[in-house]
Amino acid sequence: MIFYQLFKKLVGKVITVELKNDLIITGLLEKVDQYINLQFANIKIFEPENHPQFASTESCFIRGKSIRYVFLPENTIDNELIQESTKEYHEKRKQN
């Protein structure tokens, strides 16, 4: 759930994602859910010549599972907060 919280903060910002099929998309993040499915508006594809099928796509929904990387704008995340939350999460899991 940590990353869901993180992504919720990114809604309304322009971010870039790289998918497992090598597609790289930049767009305005409109919506995110607990599975990290992402909805974007006003998207731009990196190297559209390599992915002609998406060259004229304006909005899209990306399945969380297909994401390889998310490129975040600087100062978007609080590293310490993430580290603490991750530690807590793992400790809870160990207890369960």
């Binding site: 759930m1 998918l19 497992k20 099929n21 090598d22 597609l23 859910d33 607990q34 599975y35 499915n37 909805q39 998207i43 002609p52 099928q53 998406f54 060259a55 004229s56 796509t57 304006e58 909005s59 899209c60 929904f61 990306i62 399945r63 969380g64 599972k65 297909s66």
Partner: protein, 193 residues
């Protein structure tokens, strides 16, 4: 999961356990890669995307879990070869069958072109809703005990593999050769020899 043949009765899909129809639209043209299948009726359900041809081009079902990305595509005036406004989606082929693989390793591009462009938002929302309703069962962060059972039920239906029309397959094979990425499928030839 590949694109498979759904069970049809009276030109409508037979729904699975607890499956509901989110959207039904007719006069939708479907393209798989470069091949048009002409007009048909699109059904977006809580589990799958199904398209049934108006003529004799068959019927097709795609599990929502296989749709890696879907989007609204509008033609760019600058583009040479562009499709009309449509919903474009990329499907991950998780099986080992060769014929549906695209050049980019196991991904197939499918388009749904409505006669009326105004339908696009409706279609996009339905696809998105369906995707949200079908999270991946192996996701550890969300441990849903029901999800594995649902997955099994889906496979128990008698659904057959579908072959692409000969033209589409041949065009696709030509592309592979041209790009020099034609690799021999991993077959167990030893048995035949």
């Amino acid at each position: 999961m590949v694109i498979i043949l759904p069970e049809i009765k009276d030109k409508k899909p037979v729904l699975l356990l607890e499956e509901t129809i989110l959207l039904e639209l007719d006069q939708i043209e479907m393209y798989i890669v470069d091949a048009s299948y002409s007009s048909g009726t699109l059904y977006v359900t809580s589990r799958r995307v199904i398209w049934i041809s108006d003529s004799n081009k068959g019927s097709y079902s795609i599990s929502c879990r296989s749709i890696v990305i879907h989007g609204v595509s509008r033609p760019d005036e600058n583009e040479k070869s562009s499709f009309p406004s449509c919903i474009v989606c990329q499907i991950e082929n998780e099986s080992e069958l060769e014929p549906f693989c695209s050049i980019e390793n196991n991904y197939v591009t499918v388009r749904f072109i409505p006669t009326n462009e105004d339908s696009l938002q409706e279609m996009y929302k339905a696809f998105s809703k369906a995707a949200e309703l079908n999270p991946d069962p192996k996701n550890r962060e969300d441990e849903s005990s029901l999800s594995d059972n649902e997955y099994e039920n889906e496979n128990e239906n008698d659904e057959q593999q579908v072959m692409l029309p000969k033209d589409a397959f041949e065009n696709f094979m030509k592309k592979l050769e041209v790009n020099g990425q034609f690799e021999d499928p991993e077959e167990e030839d030893d048995e035949k020899n």
